[in-house]
Symmetry: C2
Subunit: 317 residues, 2 copies
Amino acid sequence: MYFLGIDLGGTTIKGGIVDKTGNILTQGQVPTRAEAGAEAVLAQIENLTKELKARVGISDGQLRGAGIGIPGSVDVEKGLVRLAPNLHWRNFPLRGKLEKLLGIPVVLDNDAHVAALGEMWQGAGRDYQDILMITIGTGIGSAVILNGQVHRGIFGYGAEMGHVKVEPHGPLCECGGRGCLETLASATAIVRQARQELERGRPSLLRGKETLEARDVLVAAGQGDELAREVLNRAAGYLGIALANAVLLIGPTVVILGGGVAQAGEVILGPLKERFEEALGPWQIKPLPLLLAQLGNKAGFVGAAYLALSFLRGEGK
Amino acid sequence: MYFLGIDLGGTTIKGGIVDKTGNILTQGQVPTRAEAGAEAVLAQIENLTKELKARVGISDGQLRGAGIGIPGSVDVEKGLVRLAPNLHWRNFPLRGKLEKLLGIPVVLDNDAHVAALGEMWQGAGRDYQDILMITIGTGIGSAVILNGQVHRGIFGYGAEMGHVKVEPHGPLCECGGRGCLETLASATAIVRQARQELERGRPSLLRGKETLEARDVLVAAGQGDELAREVLNRAAGYLGIALANAVLLIGPTVVILGGGVAQAGEVILGPLKERFEEALGPWQIKPLPLLLAQLGNKAGFVGAAYLALSFLRGEGK
């Protein structure tokens, strides 16, 4: 009994075949080709699936279902991609189309949700059933898992922590809101803030770089660069507060941090944890574990395979 | 089949006998006498219960159980009041003591939780199962109900919206945090901010009042007083943002506003709704109803009676 997990990103499709105990039999990736249109993307998913199946010699009957993580909002019940800006999709009936193409049951969910399921199944969340996961990348994704199930709430897209307002007079976000966490603490925000500080003429190791990436800021901070440290401290402070606020509302048993920014270590985790503990202080009965995600970019397809598995078990809703 | 609901406040104990359809047979109140110690408070609960039972001529066998709302944090499973500052209680085994005294099963919960259950059963939340309720009074209480059950999370005390940080550099809260919603938008905060504005020498209808209460600020704002309006706008803005943030994380199907401040009408609801809609804007698929609580100070004992009822049905955990 095997399951296909697909992590459909804006530039790359990652996939893997996973057994019911979470072992990865094989994994691979292909370009998304979003610019070539939806049919091209579907063909890429089909190609990847065929390649993965051929590699491990799995027959049609052995592959029971597929789960897919989508970079956007999903109507899980209808199998519809409501909005995926990276793919230029709106109300796209992906489930039906893929079921025809692959000949197996397909379940869709948001990419942050499947990543959290992956971490719960095989990663940092293995010992937990009530999880708050935040993924800090170009944007900020999040997921809440309660009793082992993704909590979706009324909107169907689940927790939108990237757009929680943490600074009432903060910068304007693309969503139209002000002071959204994403505008203050994503990789994009870190780069923007570093640029602003550089423009003020402050000395920094970052000066003179042609293209500035969040990674550069993280590295410079690790080397003691003051400008970089200040920028990260600020971002980490907002992350700590937003996470503490979410914990006060949701009460998870663990917080998992995913994405490249979180993996940079103490330069970001130190101030984040400090602010988190400070904000949560008297409300904590015992310190809440704040763990780094363990599966890296496998979390998506592993969680997507789990989604298919749990759906076929009848737990998928 | 009747249930006793008790709303144990710092100064007053309210209670009622309610049938399984939510009809209030009788209700009453006695002073809490918290300063006279826990035994005195227990005696007051017993007295009120006897009085209520005698009034409607209910025999011992007909009263199946009692629910009690506590102004503090409660260990529901252990029947323990963990901390109730107003009552000077810490780790007080209220359930056991009351069960002996009253001879019926007793269930405890936090007062904001039972008020939300009351509104769900008989008030503004009647048509909903997934509710975010916030009560704006001296402090700020909150409750999250998912699938008709209080969501407690890891800490057991449920949502602590009063201590969500909405202004990173805001005033220091008694909890040790900075910019907690309670320090910016409770009745206490409204009075404090009005006082600060008055001290700056600004003209206002509030000038010269011996004792200033939140009610005075609300009334003055209704009369067009600029200082009062400004103070309320600010508080309402924070409430709107905090509620929108909570909605993004939890996705309830309704938001219910309780407490005297919310009942003051448009002077507070207008700016609150405006900020709420603005913050939630693009994330709302359809406008989320934001309703006023309907049961007033009956919500506590009605919800407490419901707690007893649902507990005895085996749904109470």
